[in-house]
């Protein structure tokens, strides 16, 4: 589009029509904040035009702790951008606020404390996560999941030595937990303590011969200590690193097919990176953390949980499962969420029915009350 004034109007040396063709990206910035235990948490959401998606920033006391590219529901992607940003901020603020509330409501149950700790860990709120996981371990000293989560928190906080102390204590208390040996092996690797790392990684693989992650960590240890700086251009891979790959290949058909071609240090390194990437893509920590939070919100803060929010969480989880996160524990969460949705439907129906004077509605309300008692009992018995 041009106008007769174009030739006369210039903006920093460019004709106006040109500047009009590349306008400054529109901002839909939304902000929200909450305060908890003397800390201020500010959330900002906007649309990133370069990445083509909504993002979220979380600040604790003005320090940026998290930049997150948001994964919206398929139906939300059809909404105007301003609405996408608004919904993202509202959802994240609600989740964070309820997580803080739950730290008071869930009491002294180590499993719930671990669940909340994991949620804060995924939001990069490490001091908050550390306090909760620490409390979980004081209540249950053989809780391998909490040990692993807390050691990850220490690593993120740049305190590998704390992680070593914690996991050494955990392994002494629970010498037959392969997960703990693997975690300790990994932390030793991070500290460059290879002999100790290998000792624990080998124990992990002895306890669980199908433990791919432990074999992968072992492979890395041998690659890192291989001395080939002044030898051949394409040095051979350490035999132990190839052994680790062979063990992984027993469960990985693709790797089995190319194993005979892998011989040099570079080959094994490349394969290590491919497998590590595969492993990262399979990681469902964020999904599990959010599912755990929904579970706690239903069990302890049901009055503030909307039926629509529960419905959205089901759709959200169904979409992730369809993308390949098809794990038993996530399916189990989804099964529970359907029952929770039935319960919240009964609750809302009862509220709506109670305002109606009609005889049939009163009879229905009576029936709903009985059903609600049954539902409350069933929901309380579900295993997660």
């Amino acid at each position: 589009m041009t106008s007769f004034l174009d030739e006369d109007l210039n903006f920093f040396g460019q004709a106006l029509s040109q500047t009009e063709q590349s306008p400054r990206p529109e901002s839909f910035l939304q902000k929200g904040s909450l305060t908890w235990a003397g800390n201020n948490y500010l959330l900002e959401s906007d649309y990133d035009w370069e990445e083509g998606q909504v993002f979220l920033c979380l600040y604790r006391n003005r320090a940026l702790t998290l930049y997150l590219a948001c994964d919206l529901l398929e139906q939300e992607k059809q909404l105007p951008l301003a609405e996408q940003v608004k919904q993202t901020l509202s959802r994240e603020l609600e989740s964070l606020g309820s997580a803080f509330q739950l730290t008071r409501l869930t009491g002294k149950n180590p499993i719930h404390l671990n669940t909340l700790g994991l949620y804060f860990y995924t939001k990069n709120l490490w001091p908050e996560a550390r306090d909760l996981l620490d409390r979980a371990l004081k209540l249950k000293s053989d809780y391998s999941d909490a040990y692993r989560n807390l050691s990850n928190v220490y690593l993120k906080m740049g305190l590998p030595q704390e992680a070593v102390h914690l996991l050494e204590r955990a392994v002494n208390l629970n010498p037959n937990f392969a997960d703990l040996h693997n975690s300790l092996g990994w932390v030793y690797l991070e500290c460059g303590r290879h002999p100790e790392a290998r000792k624990h990684l080998e124990t992990a693989t002895r306890l669980n011969p199908a433990y791919q992650e432990a074999f992968l960590n072992l492979c890395l240890s041998y690659l890192q200590t291989s001395n080939h700086a002044q030898t051949y251009q394409h040095p051979s891979a350490p035999e132990e690193s190839l052994d680790a790959l062979r063990q992984i290949a027993t469960q990985d058909q693709e790797l089995r097919g190319i194993l005979h071609q892998i011989s040099t240090w570079e080959d094994v390194s490349r394969q290590y990176l491919i497998l590590k990437d595969k492993q990262a893509r399979r990681d469902s920590t964020n999904l599990r953390a959010l599912c755990g939070l929904f579970y706690l919100r239903f069990q302890f803060d049901r009055a503030n949980l909307k039926r629509e929010t529960m419905g959205q969480s089901i759709t959200w989880l169904q979409e992730r499962l369809a993308r390949g996160y098809d794990y038993a524990d996530l399916r189990n969460f989804l099964g529970c969420f359907h029952i929770f949705l039935a319960d919240l439907t009964m609750r809302d129906l009862l509220t709506a029915t109670e305002g109606i004077a009609d005889q049939r509605a009163r009879r229905l309300a009576k029936y709903l009350k009985k059903l609600s008692r049954l539902s409350e009992h069933a929901c309380g018995q579900l295993s997660l």
């Binding site: 759709t315 189990n332 359907h338 129906l349 509605a361 709903l368 049954l374 295993s383």
Partner: protein, 77 residues
């Protein structure tokens, strides 16, 4: 399925349940609706057991669901 369910507001659902229908009482319509939720749940627990046959939590939840379904029928006036 869930998107459709939650898109139906509670008032729409209640209107459907309480709409005069010669064959079904409101309680029966509600029960059918709830059984639909439970069957979605059962599908997920069964899938979890398929993925990991030793996943005790889903096995226990399946048992609980069967009890829940039976009690749901017994409460129908």
């Amino acid at each position: 399925m869930t998107t459709e369910r939650t898109a139906n507001t509670i008032h729409k659902l209640l209107s459907r349940i309480l709409a005069p229908q010669p064959e079904n009482r409101p309680e029966e319509i509600l029960q059918t609706e709830l059984l639909d939720y439970l069957s979605s749940s059962e599908k997920e627990f069964r899938r979890a057991c398929q993925i990991n046959p030793n996943f005790g939590k889903s096995l226990r939840n399946l048992e609980l669901l069967q009890y829940y379904g039976r009690e749901l029928f017994s409460l129908l006036p």
